[in-house]
Symmetry: C2
Subunit: 247 residues, 2 copies
């Protein structure tokens, strides 16, 4: 890429908050692109694993980040985004959460000014979790939903779009409601179906499972994902999901 | 394999009735093993495609088969098995149908002597159908359920077990009811779930589908199977399926 087209990511290093599969993979993709990156986690050992795998430095940030990427579990998202907006008053703040409406409502309830917050959601993941499963190419060629709002700073939206592109992804812009309905359809409902199908198999005697083929493996693979994480996702997007299930 | 252990398949060539994905693949696997095989179909063009692909000869059988493998759609299974038992009074007759109870009830209603009929079900397939999708190695390493009954000739059961092994599969013996409950769990219910999930996607606008990832592809792949075939399977195994869905 010519130097002039190189994305700026606002200026200053990127801070990734949360060193699980997605956070560590964002750190690795940014590091691969030569972007100075720091990564932290409530568990410093997890942050250290991510740092050793190439997701950035786990040393405390010296100065101000230009961009903060919040990659915590859904239930902690609103708190972590609000804290980042307060702690780093010049930074753009984004997240990688699977649901956009519920955390936004949580932020609005906290009465935090939100012009510097732009939601994001890379459509990539794995049934495995944690920094050991992370990869610098997790987002290559994938879609990254950038969920701006009328009250967003346009420069903040461009910054988050740059982040997605630097990580190798293709940007799709959506509204909050559009995003949550779309992922209910293409991700959360399929996951629920896979979990229900796998649940039926859990009760089966071993001689029945001897008849299993590739079909049931395909249908149930994603049911192996972290149940605690998926419970938070399903609850956070309950409204859109209920609409699909009853509509 | 030493000559003495070579399976006999009762003696005489094998006749495969029905040249779709499974019938043509059985013909190809038998031909690969050097077993003289004939294949026929209500549509002679389909039988000819299978023959050209190596599934045996589509010329009329000169003499009596030792074994008849019925590979018709489920709704025609009882008729085709009954006809084979009548037309070839010395042959063992098996089938490759996905459900065992309903066709057996159909045969009992026809008051045909059933000692020479042993049900079979190779656990292999594809979301593609027809002889163009067939393969000599479709059954290699897969499970082949052999569903004998108390009224079966023991030699007929051994013959069908030989068929499964010659085709590269591992034999699992089951009763009719056991088989139908097992496949309801590991195959028919997962297919229903995949079809319902895919149905939700059919109504989605294209911009929602842009967020699709590998998960939804996995969960919905088998929903691409022939809907007419699957409708027959689901209806034929409705009792076991209903038990799982309401239990």
């Amino acid at each position: 890429m010519p130097l002039d087209d190189r994305p700026v990511l606002v200026g200053g290093p990127v801070l990734v908050v949360g060193a699980g599969l997605i956070g560590a993979s964002v750190g690795m993709a940014l590091t691969r692109a030569g972007v100075p990156t720091h990564i932290c986690d409530v568990d410093p050992d997890i942050a250290h694993v991510a740092a050793v795998r190439g997701a950035g430095s786990d040393l405390p940030l010296d100065g101000q980040p230009g961009l903060v990427v919040v990659a915590t579990p859904p239930d902690h998202l609103a708190d972590a985004v609000a804290r980042a907006l307060q702690d780093f008053p010049a930074a753009v703040v984004t997240d990688v959460g699977s649901v956009k409406g519920a955390p936004l409502a949580g932020l609005e309830a906290r009465r935090v000014p939100l012009a510097r917050y732009v939601g994001g959601h890379p459509m990539a993941g794995s049934e495995r979790s944690g920094p050991f499963a992370s990869s610098a190419d997790l987002f290559d060629g994938r879609t990254w939903a950038v969920v701006g709002r009328a009250d967003c700073d346009p420069g903040a939206v461009r910054c988050v779009e740059d982040l997605a592109r630097v990580c190798g992804a293709n940007v799709v812009r959506m509204t909050t409601d559009e995003h949550d309905l779309a992922v209910a359809r293409v991700s959360h409902l399929p996951h629920l179906m896979a979990a229900l199908t796998a649940g039926q198999l859990a009760a089966a005697p071993p001689e029945h499972l001897a008849l299993s083929g590739q079909g049931v493996r395909d249908v149930t693979r994603i049911a192996a994902g972290d149940p605690a994480l998926w419970q938070q996702i399903i609850v956070a997007n309950a409204e859109a999901l209920t609409g699909l299930l009853t509509g």
